[in-house]
Amino acid sequence: MFSLLGYTFFQNALIAGVLASIACGIIGTFVVIRRMVAISGGISHAAFGGIGLGYFLGIEPLLGALGFTVGAALTMGELEQRAEQHMDTLIGAVWATGMALGILFIYLTPGFAPDLFGYLFGNILLVPQGDLLLMLVLVAVIVITVGLLFNDLVAVTFDQEYATVINLPVERLLLILLVLIALTVVMLIQVVGIILVIALLTLPAAISRECAAQVKTMMAYAVLLGIAFTTTGIFLSAYLNIPSGATIILVSAAAYGAVLIKKRLIGR
C-alpha cells in the first residue's frame, strides 16, 4: 500500500488534500457557525459557469471558476444588502444560473466535450503540479486574510448587530468572508468537485464544533480532521480503485455520523 507514496501523482494528491483541508478548516468554521452552508453551495455551483467559460475561451477552467465564484459571492452579498432579497432566493437563482451558463458554454465550445466529470465530482489523483501552486497561493491568501481580520470576523459572525453598533465595517467584512468562501470553493473543486464541495467545507468543522470552545481551536481541529479525511479517502480510493472525491466525502460523512451517534448514546 505504501509503495503508492513513491509516485509523484500520489504525493501531489496528498499535498492537495492537506492544502484543501487547511482552507476548509478555517473557512468551513465560519460557514458552520454563521450558517452559510447554502450560500457556499450556491457559490460552488456558480463555478460551473466559469469552468464552461474557461473551455469556451480556451483559458484554464479553474481561472474561469475563480472569476465566477468570486463574482457570485459578491453579487449575492451585495444584493442581499441592497436589493433586500432573501438570501435563500438569491442562492437558488445563482446556483441554477451558474450551472445553466456552464452547460451553455460547453455546448457552444467546438470540438470534444471536455471531461466534466472531474470538475463535478473531483479527481484528486489527477491534480496537476500547476494546480498545486494555485492552491498554495489561495491558501496563503486565506490564511493571511483571516489572520489579519480574525477578531473582526469573529465579532461579525457572532453578533452582527453589535458589530454594527461598535462601528465595525460589517458589510465589508461579510463580503470579504464571502470572497474567502469563493476562494476555498475553487480549491475544493479539484479535490471533491463542485457538487461535493459543501460536504468537505462543513463536515470537518461540524465535527470539531462538538468539542471546540473557541473559534481558533475549532479551526485547528477542523484542519486536522480534514487532513485525516482526505488522506484516508485518497488511500482508500487508490487501494480499492474507486472515485476519490466520493470516497473522501463518505469517509467524512461516516465520521460525522459516528460523532452524532456517540453524542446521542452518551447524552449531554
Binding site: 469573529v154 458589530a163 462601528n167 464544533r209
Partner: protein
C-alpha cells in the same frame, strides 16, 4: 418643565420620532429625554415598539420622521458611547467563544489598525468588567456553558468594557432566575452610580428598585419625567403595562396619561 434652566446636555434626546414598518405604525410621535444619571425604565407590552425604539436610538434603523441625538450628535457618530445589551434571545449561544473573548469584542470598535490584537491592558479591562458583573470566575468558560443569568451578565460586561456613558438594556431580566434577581438588581443599582441606564422591559417588577424615571411605551410613549418614584408614578407605571397585557387594549393606557407632552 419648570423655569429652572437646564444646562446639562441630555445623553439621549428624541424629538417627534415616527417609525412605520410594512404600513403599520410602530412608533408614533415619540419624545424622550434621558439626562445624565437617569435610570430610565421604559415599560410596555411585547410588540409595543421597545426594541425598535432602542434600535432607532442606536442608528440601526432610520426613523421615518423626527430626530435622535446622542450627547448632541447623530447616532452613527456617537453610538460608541452607548453600551448596548440586546435581548438574550437574539444570541447564538452555541457559538464557540469564551466569555472573556466575547467581552473583549466590545473593544474592537476602538481599534483602528488592521491587525486588532488584544493587549494585556484590554484583557485587564475585560476582566474588570466581568468582576463588576460578579462573574470574573467564568472568564475562561465557553458561553454555551453558562446559565441564563450568567449569560445576561456576560453580555452586560461586553457593553461595559468600552466605558460607555449610557447602558441600553433590552429585557434584561427575562433569563434571570428568581434567586439571583435581587443580586442582579443590586449590580444594576451599583452601576447606576456611575452610568446612565435606559432599560426597556415588559416586566413591571423591574421598576421597583433603583429606577429614577419611568415611561410607558405602546406605539406612543408616555412619561411624567419624574425624578422621584412617587406613589402616583409607581401606580401609573404599574397600571399601564398590566392593563395592556391583561386585556390587550392599548387605549386603556392612554386614559391615565392625559398629560402627554
Amino acid at each position: 418643565m419648570t423655569a429652572t434652566p437646564v444646562i446639562e446636555t441630555p445623553v439621549i434626546e428624541i424629538t417627534d420620532l415616527w417609525f412605520r414598518r410594512n404600513g403599520e405604525e410602530i412608533l408614533e410621535g415619540i419624545n424622550l429625554r434621558v439626562m445624565p444619571g437617569d435610570v430610565y425604565a421604559i415599560l410596555g407590552p411585547n410588540g409595543g415598539g421597545k426594541t425598535t425604539l432602542l434600535k432607532v436610538i442606536l442608528g440601526l434603523i432610520p426613523p421615518d420622521r423626527g430626530s435622535v441625538r446622542i450627547l448632541g450628535g447623530l447616532p452613527n457618530e456617537k453610538r460608541q458611547l452607548l453600551g448596548y445589551v440586546p435581548q438574550l434571545a437574539t444570541f447564538d449561544f452555541h457559538y464557540p467563544i469564551s466569555v472573556r473573548e466575547m467581552v473583549l469584542s466590545g473593544l474592537l470598535g476602538r481599534k483602528t489598525v488592521i491587525l486588532k490584537t488584544f493587549t494585556a491592558a484590554d484583557t485587564a479591562r475585560a476582566d474588570k468588567a466581568l468582576a463588576t458583573m460578579g462573574i470574573a470566575h467564568l472568564a475562561g468558560r465557553a458561553i454555551r456553558e453558562l446559565s441564563g443569568g450568567e449569560k445576561q451578565r456576560a453580555v452586560i460586561a461586553r457593553a461595559l468594557v468600552g466605558d460607555p456613558q449610557v447602558l441600553l438594556l433590552d429585557e434584561p431580566t427575562v433569563f434571570v432566575d428568581a434567586p439571583t434577581e435581587t443580586q442582579f438588581y443590586d449590580i444594576i443599582g451599583n452601576l447606576a452610580r456611575t452610568i446612565t441606564i435606559v432599560l426597556v422591559t415588559h416586566d413591571i417588577g423591574v421598576i421597583v428598585s433603583h429606577v429614577t424615571k419611568v415611561a410607558c411605551l405602546n406605539r406612543r410613549l408616555f412619561t411624567h419625567e419624574s425624578r422621584e418614584l412617587t406613589e402616583d408614578m409607581i401606580q401609573g407605571a404599574y397600571k399601564c403595562p398590566v392593563d395592556i397585557i391583561a386585556h390587550g387594549h392599548p387605549h386603556r393606557v392612554l386614559r391615565p396619561h392625559p398629560e402627554e407632552e
